[in-house]
Each structure stands twice: as structure tokens, then as C-alpha cells.
Amino acid sequence: MAYSDKVIQHYEKPNNVGNFGTTAEVKQRKDVGVGIVGAPECGDVMQLQIKVDDQGNIEDARFKCFGCGSAIASSSLATEWLKGRTVDEGLQIKNTQIVEELSLPPVKIHCSVLAEDAIHAAIADYKKKNGIEN
């Protein structure tokens, strides 16, 4: 599999790896939205966490990923793009933009779809915790 330089850069030095606490801790935190998507038997699990301030701005984002190089790069890129956006702006990130930015080949498009799903799941979790209607 030939990866693009950008995928390799993200893979070698991923941005914003980590979390804002254990699974039990982040469940309690209203300022943190958590999205976990994928399945181990499919070879990809992506966990995305966003930390949102009082104004609804995503001030920080962290990820962890079990998956191939493209999945790691897609989630690393997603955290980068999320930071500084409002929650609703976060929803504007599309998988096609990730494909374009990382030059993902057709067999790896599902990695970008997974990243978009993770963003939506994390934002939905944040909104649910804070009683915000979609």
C-alpha cells in the first residue's frame, strides 16, 4: 500500500493523541463529548473527544485510534480541524475534504467516513449531555 506523504506525516507524528480522562470520567463531564465508532472485527475503532467551552467553541480535541495508517491520519486530521470551531461548524467537516487533504486511495475512503462519523458522534454526545436540540 503506497501512502501519501501527508498520511505518513500524521501516522509518524499524530496530533492530539489522548483523552480527557478515563471512560468513566468523561461520561460524567458535561464539557466533553465522546464519539466511538467502528468495530474491532472490521479493523478500525476510532475514539474522538471534544472539549467545549461555555460559548460552544471546541477548545480542544483528542483522539485514539485502532486502525490502519489512513484511519490514524484521518482521526489526527479531524482533531486538528475541529479545534477552534464551534460545535455546529464541526458538523460541516465532510469525509470528502479528508479524502482530498490526505489523498486517500479508494480502498481507504471508509477511514474518512469513519472520521466524519466520529465527529458527529462526539458532537451528538456533547449536545445530549447538555440538553441541546439538534
Binding site: M1, T23, G38, A39, E41, G43, F66, G67, G69, D117
Partner: protein, 413 residues
């Protein structure tokens, strides 16, 4: 000595040609180019002598008579000829007679070059039983015995598995087949040249082998076909000039055959010392990885395995990213992710290895020129890569928090 990168640790896929093999082959490209079928001049005789010599070298490695060696293009062809050829020769009824044509026994973790011919025969009216090994991957005599039927005509079980290196009970299964008058074929591609083989003591009727797995050239292999007690007959797949006693028409690949012969001679001479050396190196990798990491498993039977091959699963890391993190080492991944499908290895699944572990497996296979320095480097690199990926893995976090990852309801996508 400085280490040369990348390091080749995929000898179960193919091996480099031994320079002594190449040297033996060279004259047969240019000055000794004759067709062994040319009976009327010295060019033909010279080529025929070379083929005879190679036949003797191959036969000697497996304890056969040289007349029992049929040269082919490799193990895939040998397997096809053995399985389809024996089924069609020993069938209980012909196609279109509307009766069962006969029963064949094989196993689910065979190479595709055995499974696909069996599936073809199934479509053509034969019954096939696919035995399932236990978690250790070994097919025993008892398993074959319990699947035997009155109409069983052929048993085909591989000697050593190509993904996990596990060794089945071949001499015992052969004995059973001979007691029951059933033809016994073994795909010995990963076994021959690396461990002692005696087709008579081991009760084998048909044996497939390949040149490029034993430091010979690609595109050449052999099928051993027993001539006495019992004499095995086959329906040929390829017809024409009647070469190879009619089993396999077509002008012989003389250069390849000479290379295969030489490769067999070298394996016979160096087998014993090589086996001990490779086993020590393999154990070094396994010990290092198992002692430094948690949630790892060496797949297959602990002892009944080839000395040069190991297959290790690492929990909570994904196979393709593991290959990427260890890109200086050429190995195989247990996951077929790289081939654009999301299916984990059917061999590991066949052993009951969970999908999550099957996705994150490495097959490491050592060879004639693998050094201890390379093994140390590879083991360190693998440990480092697994640690790095586990730092990234949400599943490893959950595991450490005491969450059973297998109990979570994942949303498959």
C-alpha cells in the same frame, strides 16, 4: 557489522535463490540449451542427463525413486494435478451418471491451491469433507479416521501450514490411508527441504513441493507419484508430447529443473544444522516479544511447528498499522486488509482465533541467511511498534480500565 535494511523475514512466501543454485543453472541457458526430448543428438542427451541428475537429487531428498518425480511449474500445479488427477482416476462413478463420484477429505486451513481444486471437484459431483483442526492447528489421524467413509477415495492434508507452521500427523494419516486403500496426498511445500522426509516410511502416495521455497528458482516444482505398493495413477491435466511419463506434457524447464535439483541437494546437506540454528532464532523472537508485551499469543501448537516460522497475534493493535510501524522488516500480516478486503486470515479464524487478534498478527519466517543481529533488531522493533500503537489504541485503554472489549456492542460498518 552494520545491519542492512530492509530485513527479509518472509521466507514462507519465497526465498532468494542460493548462488550455488544459480551457478548450477547458468550453463543450461546458453551452451547446454538442448531439449531433453531430442533423442538424436548430443544437445538433447546433455539436457536429458541434467534432468536425470536433478530427478535423482529431488528423489534423494524425500526418499523416493527418481522415476517417481514429475516436474511441474510449482506447488499449485502439483496440487491441482494430484487432487484432480487422483479424483478423476479413482472416481466411483463418472460425471453425468447421476451417482456420487466419491468422497475426498481435506481441511479448512489448507492453502487455496488445495481448497480451490477441492471446491471445483465438489461442483463436479464429488463429496468433500473439510476437517476443522482444534486451536493448535494440528490435523490428527483420529480426525481423518472419523471422517472416513466407504466411498472415500482421496485424503489431502498439508504437512506444515504456510501461515502458522503447524505440523500435522502426516506419517500416521498416511498409515491410516494405506490401511484403508485410500490415496494420500500431502502439500509439503513448507516442509520439504526443512525437515527429514521419507515417502516410504511416511506412507505418502502423492507429495507436492516447490523450488522457490527452498532457495531454488520460481516457476518449478515437483510432484512425487508413488509407483509401487500401491502404484498411483492420475488423469493428466495437460496433454501433448507425453513428457513426464504422460503425467505432464510440455518441454521441461531444464534450467529450473537443474536449479530445483541443486536446491534439494543443498537442503539435504544443510538441513540438520539449519534446523537447530533457525529454531534458536525463532525462539529468541518469540521469547522477547512474549516477555516484554502483554496480550500476545503465539498461534498454533507450541511444539509441533516448523523451526523457521512463527505467527504472533498482538491484542489491541491493527495489522496494517503494525506493518507500517515495522516497515524495515519484510513480514506478512495475518490480516488481508492490505489486499483491500477486510477479512482477517481464514487460517487464524479456522483455529478459532478471534477476529480482533486475527487482524493483528504477524507471520515471521526466517531463512538461510537470517542473522542473530537481524533477529534482535526485528524483535526490538516489533516490541517498540506494538507499544507505540497501543499508546494510540482506544481498545488498549479500555482493556487497562478493565472493560471487556469483546463484550461491547460495536456498530459494524
Amino acid at each position: 557489522m552494520t545491519l542492512k535494511l530492509p530485513i527479509y523475514m518472509d521466507h514462507a512466501a519465497t526465498t532468494p535463490c542460493d548462488p550455488r543454485v544459480v551457478e548450477a543453472m547458468l550453463p543450461y541457458f546458453t551452451e547446454k540449451f538442448g531439449n531433453p526430448g531430442s533423442r538424436n543428438h548430443s544437445f538433447g542427451w546433455e539436457a536429458e542427463d541434467a534432468v536425470d541428475n536433478a530427478r535423482r537429487q529431488v528423489a534423494s531428498l524425500i526418499g523416493a525413486d527418481r522415476k517417481e518425480i514429475i516436474f511441474t511449474s510449482g506447488s499449485t500445479e502439483s496440487n491441482n494435478l494430484a487432487i484432480k488427477g487422483a479424483a478423476n482416476m479413482y472416481q466411483k462413478a463418472g460425471p453425468g451418471e447421476g451417482k456420487p463420484r466419491g468422497h475426498i477429505i481435506t481441511e479448512i486451513i489448507e492453502h487455496k491451491a488445495v481448497l480451490d481444486p477441492c471446491k471445483r471437484l465438489e461442483k463436479e459431483g464429488f463429496d468433500v469433507t473439510y476437517l476443522e483442526p482444534g486451536p493448535d492447528g494440528v490435523i490428527t489421524r483420529a480426525m481423518v479416521e472419523s471422517a472416513m467413509r466407504d466411498d472415500t477415495i482421496l485424503v489431502t492434508i498439508m504437512w506444515a501450514n504456510n501461515e502458522i507452521g503447524v505440523i500435522s500427523e502426516i506419517p500416521e494419516i498416511g498409515k491410516l490411508c494405506h490401511e484403508k486403500n485410500v490415496v494420500f496426498h500431502t502439500d509439503a511445500t513448507q516442509w520439504v527441504g526443512k525437515a527429514p522426509t521419507d515417502v516410504n516410511a511416511d506412507n505418502i502416495d502423492l507429495l507436492s513441493m516447490s523450488g522457490h521455497k527452498i532457495y531454488g528458482p520460481k516457476g518449478v516444482g515437483a510432484l512425487y507419484v508413488r509407483r509401487r505398493r500401491p502404484r498411483i495413477r492420475l488423469v493428466a491435466l495437460q496433454e501433448g508430447g507425453g513428457q513426464e511419463r504422460g503425467f505432464r506434457s510440455g518441454t521441461l524447464n531444464v534450467t529450473g529443473v537443474v536449479g530445483l535439483g541443486k536446491a534439494c541437494e543443498l537442503c539435504a546437506a544443510e538441513m540438520d544444522s539449519e534446523r537447530d540454528r533457525l529454531l534458536a532464532l525463532r525462539k529468541k523472537i518469540e521469547d522477547k516479544v512474549v516477555s516484554e508485551l502483554d496480550v500476545v499469543q503465539v498461534n498454533g501448537h507450541p511444539e509441533r511447528r516448523m523451526p523457521h516460522l512463527t505467527n504472533i497475534s498482538f491484542g489491541f493493535v491493527e495489522g496494517e498499522s503494525l506493518m507500517m510501524a515495522t516497515k524495515e522488516i519484510a513480514m506478512s500480516s495475518g490480516s488481508a486488509c492490505t489486499s483491500a478486503s477486510l477479512e482477517p486470515s481464514y487460517v487464524l479464524k479456522g483455529l478459532g482465533v478471534g477476529d480482533d487478534l486475527a487482524h493483528s498478527s504477524l507471520r515471521i519466517s526466517l531463512g538461510r541467511w537470517t542473522t542473530e543481529e537481524e533477529v534482535d533488531y526485528a524483535a526490538d522493533k516489533i516490541v517498540e511498534a506494538v507499544r507505540k500503537l497501543r499508546d494510540l489504541s482506544p481498545l488498549y485503554d479500555m482493556h487497562k480500565e478493565g472493560i471487556d472489549v469483546s463484550k461491547i456492542e460495536w456498530q459494524a460498518h
